[in-house]
C-alpha cells in the first residue's frame, strides 16, 4: 500500500509546496522591483557553502548539527524523489537514502537535545515543533526505505503500522516540503537560498574584492565589508520606507530568510540595555507586515517593555506605529553587531535606516535632540550649532598648516571632525598633531572649510542633509591636492572613505590608528616604554572595526608602546557598542541600563586600569560613566605621551592641553 501511496504523497507535497512557494514569491515581489538577474541563482551554492557556513561555524556544534540535518535532508529528499517518487527502487540508492536519513536523524537528535532547555535567544512555537518534525521525517523516511535493502519486515507494507508510518511521513512531508513553501519554519531554506542569490550587497560574498580580508578564518568576513548605506533618491515619490511594500523586494526576501536563531538578539546592545529593540523581533515584524496579520504568533523574546501580540500590519499599511513603535527604531546604535552575527546575512541596519528615513524626511518626527542636531547641521554645518569658523580655536597655539596655503598639495589632509569642538577630543587632536609632527608628516587641515561629514544626519535618516553636506565637502576637497586623508574619528573615516564614493568623492582615507601603525612600521616615530606597566584593554569602535575591518592596527600600536592588551570577552568583530553611534546618543531611548555602563563593566572584568579607545564618540560615552572607573585614553594620547621627541622644542605642545580642559568655555 505504501508503495502506491508514497509517490502520491511526495508529488502532492511537492505540488502543494510549489504552490505555496509561488505565493511566497509574490509576497516578496510586493516590494520595490529591481531588474531580475536570474543568473545570480548560480551563485547560491557557493555563497551557502562558503560564506554562510563560515558565519554558522562560529559555533561549531551548531554547524555540525546543521550540516548533518540539512545535508541529510537534502540528500534524503533528492533520493526519495528518485526512489519513491519515480519508483527507481535501486538497492544502492535505497542504501544511500537510508544513510542520508540516518545522518539527518543524528543531526536531528542534536537539534532536539538543544531544544530540551532552549536558550532564551531561540524562538519556540513552530521552531520547537520543527525539531519533532525533523524526527518524524527522518524516522519515517528511514523506515519506509528499509524494504529497499530487504531488511524490513514485510508487515510494514500493510496494516496499522503502515497507517502509522504513513501518518508520520505525512507529518514530515507537510513540515519539510509543504511548510517550506507555505511559511513554516522550513521556509528559511527556500527564502534563505534565494536571499543568498539575490542579496543586495553582493560584495559581501566576493573573495576577490579589493577590500576582502586576506585571512580566511570563520571570524573574519569572507568578502568585502560592504557597510556603506545605500544612497536615497531624493526625487522619489516616497522617501524611505513607510510600509513593507516600500522595501526593495530583496530586502523582504531577506527578512523571510530569518531562522530566529537569536544571535542578533544576544549581541544587540540596545536589547541588553533593556531598550525596546530586538533585531530578531524587528525582522519577524517585517515578515508579519509583508504577509499581513498580527505579531501574536511570534514565539520568541519581544522588545523589552513592549508586549507581544498588540501590533499588526499589512503590506500596504504604515509600519510605524501599528507594527513597530518608533522608539524601537530610534534605539538602534547602527553598530552592525546583528548584521555581523546573522547567519542568514540579513541587513538589519539598512532596514532600520530605511524606516528612519521615512520618519525623518516625511513625518518630521526625529527625536527632539536629533532634530535639533539636524537643524544645526543645516544652519551651521556642525551638529552643535557652533560657529564653524571656531573649528580651529583649540589649535590657536599649534599653528596648524592650512591646506589653503599649500596649492602644491600635501601628503596628509588631517580631517578633524566635529570632535574639534569638544574639549575632551581636543586633547586627542593635540596629541595626534604632536605625533604627526614627530613623524615629520607633511600634513595640513581644512580649517573652517571643513564641515560635518554628515554621519549623524544620515543615520538619523536625514538623507537630504547628508547629501547636501557630502556634496559641499566633496566640492571643497576638490579644490585641494592631497594624497590621503587621516582622521581620528571613525565615523568621518567611514563616511568619507566608504559613503562619499556614491557622490563622486573617492579618497584614500586612513584612521589615525592605521596611520600611526604605519609610522611605527616605517620607523618614523619612536617611543619609550612606559615607566610603569599599566594594564590596558582596547575597545573596538564599531565604525572602525565592524564597519571597516580595522582590528589589527590599534593593537599593533599598543604593542609598539610595549603594552599587553587584556582583551575583553567581546572584542574585535564582536565588540560591544559604546552606545553613541547612529544618533542613539541623541535619541536617548530610555532602558533599564545605559549601554556605556555595560561596556565599562566589560572593561572592568579584564581588570584593566586603562581602556584605550580610538573614537571621540566612544571616549565621550565611556567617560560619561560615573567614577571610579578605568581611565579612558585615546591611542593618540598614549602614543604622544610615550613619544621620544626628535627635538626638545616640541615639548611645549602638550603642556597646555591639560590646563585647557579645566577652563569653562
Amino acid at each position: 500500500m505504501l508503495q502506491t501511496l508514497l509517490p502520491i504523497l511526495i508529488f502532492a507535497a511537492l505540488a502543494v509546496g510549489a504552490a505555496g512557494a509561488v505565493r511566497r514569491t509574490r509576497l516578496w515581489r510586493q516590494g520595490r522591483r529591481t531588474p531580475m538577474r536570474w543568473h545570480r541563482l548560480a551563485l547560491m551554492p557557493k555563497r551557502y557553502l562558503n560564506d554562510l557556513h563560515h558565519v554558522v561555524a562560529r559555533d561549531k556544534a551548531i554547524a555540525h548539527t546543521h550540516v548533518a540535518t540539512a545535508g541529510g535532508y537534502v540528500a534524503a529528499m533528492a533520493l526519495a524523489l528518485v526512489v519513491h517518487g519515480f519508483g527507481w527502487r535501486n538497492p544502492i540508492l535505497g542504501g544511500l537514502l537510508l544513510a542520508a536519513s540516518l545522518v539527518m536523524f543524528m543531526g536531528t537528535i542534536a537539534v532536539n537535545l538543544r531544544r530540551v532547555n532552549p536558550p532564551a535567544k531561540l524562538s519556540k512555537g513552530p521552531w520547537q515543533r520543527l525539531s519533532k518534525s525533523l524526527i518524524a521525517y527522518s524516522v519515517g523516511m528511514f523506515l519506509v526505505s528499509l524494504p529497499l535493502v530487504g531488511v524490513a519486515p514485510t508487515v510494514l507494507g500493510g496494516g496499522v503500522l503502515a497507517i502509522v508510518l504513513a501518518a508520520v511521513l505525512v507529518w514530515g512531508l507537510l513540515e519539510m516540503v509543504v511548510g517550506m513553501g507555505w511559511g513554516g519554519p522550513m521556509k528559511h531554506a527556500f527564502a534563505g537560498s534565494f536571499h543568498l542569490a539575490f542579496h543586495r550587497r553582493p560584495e559581501r560574498f566576493d573573495d576577490n574584492h579589493p577590500d576582502a580580508s586576506p585571512k580566511k578564518t570563520h571570524d573574519v568576513h569572507r568578502g568585502s565589508r560592504s557597510t556603506a548605506l545605500f544612497p536615497l533618491d531624493l526625487t522619489a515619490k516616497t522617501l524611505g520606507v513607510e510600509k513593507p511594500a516600500d522595501f526593495q523586494w530583496e530586502q523582504l526576501l531577506g527578512f523571510d530568510a530569518c531562522v530566529q536563531c537569536g544571535r542578533c538578539q544576544s549581541v544587540c546592545p540596545a536589547y541588553a540595555a533593556g531598550q525596546p529593540l530586538n533585531p530578531k523581533k524587528l525582522i519577524q515584524d517585517m515578515v508579519v507586515g509583508m504577509a499581513g496579520g498580527s505579531d501574536s504568533r511570534y514565539a520568541g523574546s519581544g522588545y523589552p517593555g513592549i508586549e507581544v501580540g498588540k501590533h499588526h500590519g499589512g503590506p500596504s499599511d504604515a509600519i510605524v506605529p501599528q507594527l513597530v513603535e518608533a522608539q524601537t527604531l530610534w534605539a538602534c546604535t547602527t553598530c552592525r553587531a546583528c548584521v555581523e552575527e546573522c547567519p542568514m546575512m540579513i541587513e538589519h541596519v539598512d532596514a532600520i535606516v530605511d524606516m528612519r528615513r521615512f520618519i525623518t524626511l516625511e513625518r518630521g518626527e526625529t527625536p527632539e535632540k536629533g532634530a535639533v542636531a539636524i537643524d544645526n547641521l543645516i544652519a551651521t554645518d556642525n551638529p552643535g550649532g557652533l560657529d564653524n569658523a571656531s573649528r580651529l580655536d583649540w589649535a590657536a597655539d599649534l599653528e596648524l598648516p592650512r591646506i589653503q596655503d599649500r596649492p602644491e598639495g600635501v601628503d596628509v589632509l588631517l580631517w578633524l571632525g566635529d570632535g574639534a569642538f569638544d574639549m575632551r577630543n581636543q586633547r586627542t587632536l593635540r596629541s595626534l598633531v604632536k605625533i604627526l609632527r614627530a613623524g615629520d608628516v607633511d600634513f595640513a587641515v581644512l580649517g573652517e572649510e571643513e564641515r560635518d561629514s554628515g554621519d549623524v544626519a544620515r543615520r538619523l535618516g536625514d538623507e537630504a542633509t547628508f547629501q547636501r553636506l557630502a556634496e559641499r565637502n566633496i566640492a571643497t576637497l576638490s579644490h585641494y591636492r592631497f594624497a590621503r586623508i587621516v582622521t581620528a574619528d571613525p565615523h568621518s573615516f567611514h563616511v568619507l572613505g566608504r559613503e562619499y564614493g556614491a557622490f563622486g568623492g573617492d579618497y584614500v582615507v586612513k584612521h589615525h590608528s592605521t596611520f600611526i601603525a604605519e609610522l611605527f612600521d616605517g620607523g618614523r616615530i619612536s617611543v619609550t616604554a612606559p615607566a610603569q606597566a599599566e594594564s590596558v584593554t582596547y575597545h573596538d569602535p564599531c565604525y572602525l572595526g565592524r564597519y571597516n575591518g580595522e582590528f589589527a592596527a590599534p593593537r599593533q600600536v599598543l604593542a609598539a608602546l610595549g603594552l599587553e592588551v587584556a582583551e575583553m570577552e567581546r572584542s574585535g568583530y564582536r565588540s560591544r557598542c559604546c552606545g553613541g553611534g547612529g544618533g542613539a546618543a541623541l535619541s536617548d531611548v530610555p532602558g533599564r541600563a545605559r549601554i556605556p555602563d555595560m561596556r565599562m563593566e566589560d572593561v572592568r572584568e579584564t581588570g584593566a586600569t586603562t581602556v584605550a579607545v580610538a573614537c571621540p564618540q566612544c571616549t565621550a560615552m565611556l567617560e560619561g560613566v560615573v567614577e571610579p572607573r578605568p581611565r579612558i585614553r585615546d591611542l593618540a594620547e598614549m602614543v604622544a605621551d610615550a613619544l621620544v621627541e626628535p627635538t626638545a622644542a616640541m615639548n611645549a605642545t602638550s603642556a597646555p592641553s591639560q590646563s585647557r580642559e579645566e577652563e569653562p568655555a
Binding site: 580651529l392 580655536d393 596655503d405 545605559r594 560619561g624 560615573v626 580642559e661 577652563e663 569653562p664 568655555a665
Partner: protein, 439 residues
C-alpha cells in the same frame, strides 16, 4: 568725577577712514586670521577696564555682573545738583515700566536717555505713569510727572492706555516719546502709539520728517544727534532721532548728578484739547482675564526663576520632590541623576542639557562638572549644598553649605512647617507661587 570723556578728534579720526591718523584710533578687531591662516587674538582689544583701572578679560564664566545684593553700596554719595526747568519749550516724554511699582534700572536708563535729548534744549523730561504713588522720579531725572492712573485699570489693557497716551500727545505734543523696548510691556505700548501716530505724520506729506515718524526700536545708543538701533541680521541702523524711541537696557547712563523737581501736572491744565479717546473707545479688543497660576514644574527650565537641582548626593528622591514643592522651586538635575533614571532628560541642567537663567539656583549634591557649571553661568545666585567642601560647585557658589543634602532638605521642609509625612502631594505650589510673584 569719573565721567568718561570722548576725544572728539579721536572720534572723528576713527570714523573717517581717509583720515591720516585713522589707524591710530580705529578699533582693531580682537580676532582675525593672519596671512598664514592662523587665528590671532589681540588681547589688548578685548575686555573691559575694571574699577581699578586695570584691563580685565574674564573668560571664567563664573563671574556674575550683579553685585551681591545689599553689599558694596556707594557709601558717601555726593549731593546732587537741583535742576528746575520752569518754562519748558517742549517735552520729552518717558513712559517707564515700573515693574512692581518701582523704577527699575531700565527705567533709569530711559530717563538718562531723555536727559541727553532734553538738556540744552530747554525741554522738560516728563514721566507718564499709569501707577499712582511712585517715588524716585526726582532722582531718576523727571522734571514733570503725568499721572494717568485714573484712566486705566490694573493689568493688561493696552487700548485705554493708548487712548490716554494719545491724550498726552494732544496736550503736550512731545518732541520725543521714550519707551522701554520690552515685550509685552513698554515695547507693546510704544509700538501701538507709534502705529497710531505714524499715519498722521505720513499724511502731513512726504517731507523730510517722514523718516523721524517711523519709530526707532531697540535703540541702544545716542550720540551726536543720531540714534543707533539694533536691526535684524547683525546690523545697526544709524538714523536721526525719531519721535518714538523704544530703547534697550543700558541705552544711556542713568542720571546721577542732578535732582529734578518731578512736578505733577494735570493734562487738562495744559490747554490742549482732550480728544477723550477713552470715552468713545469701542468695545475693547483685548480683555485681561488675569494671571494664570503656573506650576513651577511646567515652566521651561531655561526660564525658571528658582531652581532646586539635584545630583548624585541625593538618595531620598521623594524628599527632594517634596522639598521642591514646599519651596516652590522648579526641579533641575545633573546629568548623572538623569542617566540614573531619577529625573527626566528634560530636567537636565548643563551644556549638554539646558542652559538655565534662574535668579537663584540651589544645587544639592552636585559636584559641578564643567558642563554643569557652563549651564548655570547665567544664574545670579548659586547655593551649593554638598558634603564635599572641595568640589567645584562649592567654589562657584555664592553660598555653600557643607552638609548632607537629603537631611538639609528634610530640615528645610520641617522648618517651613511642611514636613514630608504630614503633607501629601498637595498642590501647595499654588500659594508658593503667588508668594513668588509677590517677592
Amino acid at each position: 568725577m569719573s565721567v568718561r570723556r570722548l576725544d572728539p578728534h579721536a572720534e572723528r579720526a576713527r570714523r573717517n577712514r581717509l583720515h591720516p591718523r585713522h589707524h591710530e584710533f580705529a578699533r582693531p578687531a580682537w580676532r582675525w586670521t593672519s596671512a598664514d591662516g592662523v587665528t590671532r587674538i589681540n588681547p589688548h582689544a578685548l575686555g573691559a577696564i575694571g574699577p581699578n583701572g586695570i584691563k580685565r578679560i574674564d573668560r571664567s564664566g563664573a563671574a556674575v555682573e550683579a553685585s551681591p545684593a545689599g553689599g558694596a553700596s556707594t557709601s558717601a554719595e555726593p549731593a546732587r545738583r537741583q535742576i528746575v526747568i520752569d518754562q519748558p519749550v517742549g517735552h520729552v516724554v518717558v513712559v517707564p515700566e515700573l515693574p512692581e511699582g518701582r523704577l527699575n534700572d531700565h527705567d533709569r536708563d530711559l530717563f538718562g536717555l531723555a536727559r541727553q535729548l532734553a538738556d540744552g534744549h530747554d525741554l522738560a523730561v516728563t514721566a507718564v505713569t499709569f501707577l499712582s504713588g511712585v517715588s524716585g522720579f526726582e532722582d531718576a531725572g523727571a522734571d514733570r510727572v503725568v499721572d494717568l492712573s485714573a484712566m486705566v485699570t490694573e493689568g493688561y489693557d493696552p487700548e485705554p492706555r493708548l487712548a490716554a497716551l494719545v491724550d498726552v500727545e494732544a496736550a503736550l505734543s512731545p518732541r520725543h516719546w521714550i519707551f522701554a523696548d520690552s515685550l509685552p510691556d513698554g515695547g507693546d505700548l510704544g509700538r501701538r502709539l507709534a502705529a497710531r501716530l505714524l499715519p498722521q505724520s505720513a499724511s502731513q506729506g512726504a517731507n523730510a520728517s517722514v523718516g523721524d515718524a517711523r519709530p526707532a526700536t531697540r535703540v541702544w545708543q545716542l550720540s551726536e544727534g543720531k540714534t543707533l538701533s539694533r536691526a535684524g541680521d547683525r546690523q545697526d541702523i544709524l538714523r536721526d532721532v525719531a519721535r518714538v524711541l523704544l530703547a534697550l537696557p543700558e541705552c544711556a547712563e542713568p542720571v546721577s548728578e542732578t535732582r529734578h523737581e518731578a512736578r505733577v501736572i494735570e493734562l487738562a491744565t495744559m490747554g490742549g484739547e482732550l480728544s477723550s479717546a477713552a470715552n468713545e473707545a469701542p468695545a475693547s479688543g483685548v480683555i485681561d482675564r488675569g494671571r494664570v497660576a503656573v506650576d513651577p514644574q511646567e515652566i521651561p527650565l531655561a526660564q525658571a526663576p528658582f531652581i532646586l537641582s539635584a545630583g548624585r548626593g541625593i538618595s531620598d528622591w521623594e524628599g527632594y520632590h517634596h522639598a521642591a514643592r514646599v519651596l516652590g522651586a522648579s526641579e533641575g538635575a545633573s546629568r548623572v541623576a538623569v542617566d540614573d533614571g531619577y529625573m527626566p532628560r528634560s530636567r537636565q541642567v548643563g551644556a549638554t542639557g539646558t542652559f538655565v537663567t534662574a535668579s537663584c539656583y540651589v544645587a544639592v549634591g552636585i559636584s559641578g562638572a564643567v558642563q554643569h557649571l557652563q549651564g548655570i553661568a547665567k544664574c545670579q545666585r548659586v547655593i551649593a549644598i554638598n558634603n564635599d567642601p572641595s568640589c567645584d560647585m562649592v567654589k562657584r557658589a555664592d553660598l555653600a553649605l557643607i552638609a548632607d543634602g537629603d537631611a538639609v532638605l528634610a530640615a528645610v521642609c520641617e522648618r517651613l512647617g511642611q514636613p514630608r509625612d504630614q503633607t501629601g502631594s498637595d498642590g501647595s505650589w499654588t500659594d508658593e507661587e503667588s508668594r513668588h510673584a509677590a517677592a
